[in-house]
C-alpha cells in the first residue's frame, strides 16, 4: 500500500508540475500576443494620424474642385436645384394616404421651388467658370 502511495505522490507531482508548466507557457504566449497587439495599436494610431492628414490633403476643396472639373464637369448647385422640404418632392409616395389608392402618389403642381423667372446667365469671375471652358474644348476636338 505504501508503494502505491509513493507512486501516487510521484504521479500527482508530475501531472501538476506539467499542468502548471503548460499554464505558465500559455500565459507567456498570451502575454506576447497582447504585447504584440499593443505595438500594433500604436503603429496603427500612427498610421491613422498620417492617413487623416493625407485624407485632408487629398480631399481639400481646391483639389476636389479640380478633379470634378476634369472628370465630371459639374457646376455649382443653383438655388433652383435645391428643394427646401420634402413636401415639394414630386412623384413621391405620400405616407399619409393608403398605399394603392390613386391619390397616394403626389403629382407636382410646380417643380421649381422658387417662383421667379429664369436667372439670366451672368458673367462670373471665379468658381466654376473653367468647367465650361473645358467642355467647349472637348467638343471641338471631338468633331
Amino acid at each position: 500500500m505504501r508503494q502505491y502511495f509513493t507512486l501516487f505522490s510521484v504521479g500527482i507531482a508530475l501531472i501538476s508540475g506539467m499542468v502548471v508548466f503548460q499554464v505558465k507557457s500559455t500565459v507567456q504566449e498570451r502575454r506576447d500576443d497582447v504585447e504584440g497587439l499593443a505595438r500594433q495599436i500604436e503603429a496603427d494610431q500612427r498610421a491613422i494620424k498620417m492617413l487623416r492628414t493625407e485624407w485632408a490633403y487629398l480631399t481639400s476643396p481646391s483639389r476636389l474642385q479640380d478633379q470634378s472639373m476634369h472628370f465630371l464637369a459639374m457646376g455649382e448647385t443653383s438655388a433652383r436645384q435645391i428643394i427646401p422640404d420634402v413636401q415639394q418632392v414630386p412623384y413621391r409616395i405620400d405616407l399619409e394616404t393608403p398605399v394603392d389608392a390613386p391619390e397616394s402618389i403626389v403629382i407636382p403642381l410646380r417643380y421649381a421651388p422658387i417662383n421667379k423667372p429664369r436667372e439670366k446667365p451672368e458673367r462670373r469671375l471665379g468658381g466654376f467658370q473653367r468647367a465650361s471652358l473645358i467642355i467647349r474644348v472637348d467638343e471641338r476636338s471631338g468633331r
Binding site: 502548471v20 500604436e42 500612427r46 492628414t53 490633403y57 474642385q65 438655388a79 468658381g127
Partner: protein
C-alpha cells in the same frame, strides 16, 4: 493526522528493520511533496477560477499599456474636425556612399522617385569619397519613402524627424500662422495658443498639449478665398480681405487675407504676405458705416422711416464739400438716403444726432477698440483726434474713421441679429456657449434691428448692392467705396471697395464681407471700380457656394416683410 502517523512509526521504529525505517522515511518525504504539490495545484486552480478584483492579487501587474502617441505639438482642427495643422513623422533620406556599388544605376532609380534632382547631381552625391553620411533629401512624402524602400539598397537609409504639416497649404494661412524650425508658433493661432498646443516636460523637450478646434469651415474658407482671389486678378487689385461670420455666435467661419503665404514654407513668400488685412489692416471703409448711423438715428427717434431729408445740394462744412456719388438731387426718405447711399442725407441725419452720441455709439459697438479675435495680428482703429461736426459728418458715411474688417463685421452682426453685440471669435463654440449669447449686451433694440434688416435687403433689391442678389438666399447688404487717404487729401484713383452682405435677411445667420484694395474697373464693370461692381459679386458668389454647406435653404421670399419700406423708395430712372 500525518503528524500522528509519523509519531507512531517512530515509537514502533526501534524494533523494526532498516528497510522499514527507509520506507517510512520515504513515505514522509512523499507526503511532504504531495502536500506541496497539492498546495500548488490548489493555488493554480484558485487563480484560474477567481475573477480578478475581488481576490487578493492585483491585476495591474498583468496589464499591458499602449503608450499614447507622443508628438511635440497638438493639432489644429476646423469646426467639423478636419485637420488644419498637425505634426507628423517624416523620413529624411541619407546615403553611405562607401556601400554603393553602381552609382549610375542607383542614381537613375532615385531620380525617377525624386524628380527634383538630375541624374548627374544624384550621382555626384552617391560617389562622394571618404564620407559615410550624405543627406539626399529631407522630409520625404510617405509614398516616396515607400518606393525608395522598395528599391532595396541597404546603403540608402532613413532618419525619422517630426514636422508641422498644413495639409490645406495656403488656405487659412493667416488664421493658422506658422511655426519656426524649433516648433515655436510665429503667427496666427500657432502663436497666440503656443502654450496650449505645446508644453515643455522636465527634460525641456516639447510635448503635445490640447488640440484646438477653430470656428473655421474649410469649405467656406475655400469658396471665399477662391472668389476673392478671382476678383483680385480680374480687377488687378493690390490685395483683398474677406470674412464670413455667424451673427448669433460671433464665430468666424472663414477669414481670408490676400496675398497669402504657404505656412508649410513661410520663407518662400514676402513678409508683406503675412499682413492680415482682416484684423490687422484698418481702412476707411466708406458707406458700409452708414448702417450704424441710421441704426442709432432710428433707435433714438431722431429720424423716422417716413421723414424726408434734403439731399438737393451738396453741403459745405468748414471748407469741405460733401456731395453724393449716386446723386439724385432731391428730397429723399430715410430708406432712400440709405439705399442710394447719399452722403448728403447721411450728414444731415448725423447733424441732428450730434458728435457725442455718435461717438458713444461707435464705442458701444466696438469700433473704437481693437477686435477681440484670438490672434496677435490685430490693428488699432484710427480715431480722429477732434470728433467735431465735420468729423461726425464724414464718419457718418465712413470717412475719417479707420477700422478693420473684423470690427465692421462684428458691428454689423449686432445690427442684424436683434441688437446684441457678440464678440468675434476664431474658436468653435459649443451649444452652451451659444445660449450664453442671449445675455450678450444689447446695443440697439430688436425693432431697430428689424428696420435695419429691411433697409439692407432693399439696398440689394433696389439700390447700390444689386450685384449681390443671389436667387433664393434673400441677401441684404451695403456697398462701401472709399478713396484712399494720402497726404493732404484723398486719392481719387486708389479705392478701397467693399461690400458687406448679410443672409438670409428674414432670419440673419451670416455676415459676408469682401474688400478689394485698389481695384481697377474692367469692361465688364463699365470701368467702375466701386464696391457695388467689384466686391458685391464676390459676396454673391460666396453666398451661392456656401449657403448649401451652411444649411441655409433657398426659398421664395416673403415680400410682405418689405412692402412698407419699399413704398418709401422711388427707384424710377429719370
Amino acid at each position: 493526522m500525518s503528524d500522528m502517523h509519523v509519531k507512531t512509526t517512530r515509537i514502533e521504529g526501534a524494533g523494526k528493520s532498516a528497510m522499514d525505517i527507509a520506507r517510512n522515511r520515504l513515505m514522509v518525504a512523499g507526503l511532504l511533496f504531495l502536500a506541496a504539490f497539492a498546495a500548488m495545484a490548489f493555488r493554480t486552480l484558485e487563480l484560474g477560477l477567481s475573477t480578478p478584483g475581488n481576490s487578493g492579487f492585483s491585476r495591474a501587474a498583468a496589464l499591458v499599456t499602449v503608450a499614447p502617441l507622443s508628438y511635440s505639438r497638438a493639432e489644429i482642427l476646423d469646426r467639423n474636425g478636419e485637420v488644419l495643422a498637425t505634426n507628423l513623422e517624416v523620413a529624411s533620406l541619407y546615403v553611405d556612399p562607401q556601400k554603393i556599388d553602381d552609382p549610375r544605376k542607383v542614381a537613375n532609380e532615385l531620380v525617377a522617385i525624386l524628380p527634383e534632382f538630375t541624374v548627374a547631381e544624384m550621382e555626384k552625391k552617391l560617389t562622394l569619397p571618404q564620407r559615410k553620411f550624405v543627406w539626399i533629401k529631407r522630409h520625404l512624402s510617405p509614398d516616396q519613402k515607400w518606393r525608395i524602400n522598395a528599391l532595396g539598397y541597404p546603403a540608402l537609409k532613413f532618419q525619422d524627424e517630426e514636422r508641422r504639416i498644413y495639409p490645406y497649404g495656403r488656405l487659412a494661412s493667416h488664421v493658422l500662422g506658422f511655426v519656426d524650425v524649433d516648433g515655436k508658433g510665429l503667427g496666427g493661432i500657432e502663436r497666440s495658443f503656443d502654450s496650449t498646443l505645446s508644453w515643455r516636460d522636465e527634460n525641456d523637450s516639447p510635448r503635445a498639449g490640447e488640440p484646438i478646434r477653430t470656428a473655421l469651415d474649410i469649405r467656406v474658407q475655400h469658396a471665399l478665398a477662391e472668389e476673392l482671389g478671382a476678383a483680385i486678378r480680374a480687377h488687378k487689385a493690390k490685395g483683398g480681405a474677406g470674412i464670413v461670420m455667424d451673427v448669433r455666435s460671433g464665430e468666424v467661419v472663414a477669414m481670408v487675407s490676400m496675398p497669402d503665404f504657404d505656412p508649410n514654407d513661410p520663407a518662400a513668400s514676402p513678409a508683406e504676405a503675412r499682413f492680415n488685412r482682416v484684423s490687422q489692416g484698418v481702412y476707411e471703409l466708406g458707406s458700409t458705416l452708414k448702417t450704424f448711423t441710421v441704426a442709432k438715428a432710428l433707435e433714438q427717434n431722431i429720424v423716422h422711416m417716413e421723414d424726408m431729408i434734403d439731399a438737393r445740394k451738396p453741403i459745405r462744412v468748414a471748407g469741405y464739400t460733401i456731395s453724393d456719388d449716386h446723386g439724385k438731387a432731391r428730397m429723399m426718405s430715410v430708406p432712400e438716403v440709405f439705399v442710394f447711399s447719399s452722403n448728403i442725407g447721411m450728414s444731415r441725419i448725423v447733424d441732428e444726432m450730434g458728435p457725442e452720441l455718435q461717438r458713444q455709439f461707435m464705442a458701444d459697438i466696438g469700433l473704437l477698440q481693437p477686435t477681440t479675435l484670438e490672434i496677435q495680428e490685430i490693428g488699432n482703429p484710427l480715431i480722429p483726434r477732434r470728433w467735431g461736426r465735420l468729423a461726425s459728418m464724414t464718419i457718418s458715411y465712413g470717412h475719417g474713421l479707420s477700422i478693420s474688417p473684423a470690427q465692421l463685421s462684428t458691428g454689423i452682426a449686432a445690427m442684424v441679429n436683434g441688437g446684441r453685440l457678440v464678440p468675434a471669435t476664431l474658436l468653435a463654440k459649443d451649444e452652451a456657449d451659444i445660449s450664453a449669447i442671449e445675455s450678450a449686451r444689447q446695443v440697439i433694440s430688436a425693432s431697430t434691428s428689424r428696420d435695419i434688416r429691411k433697409l439692407l435687403r432693399m439696398t440689394v433689391v433696389k439700390g447700390t448692392g444689386s450685384k449681390a442678389e443671389a436667387l433664393g438666399y434673400r441677401v441684404g447688404g451695403k456697398t462701401g467705396t472709399a478713396e484712399k487717404a494720402i497726404a493732404g487729401g484723398y486719392d481719387k484713383k486708389a479705392l478701397i471697395s467693399s461690400f458687406m452682405g448679410v443672409f438670409p435677411m428674414d432670419d440673419p445667420q451670416y455676415v459676408v464681407f469682401a474688400l478689394l484694395d485698389e481695384p481697377e474697373g474692367t469692361r465688364a464693370t463699365h470701368n467702375f471700380a466701386g464696391g457695388g461692381w467689384t466686391a458685391a459679386p464676390v459676396v454673391r458668389n460666396v453666398i451661392v457656394r456656401s449657403a448649401p454647406l451652411l444649411g441655409i435653404q433657398p426659398i421664395s421670399e416673403n415680400q410682405s416683410l418689405y412692402t412698407r419700406v419699399a413704398h418709401l423708395i422711388d427707384d424710377e430712372k429719370r
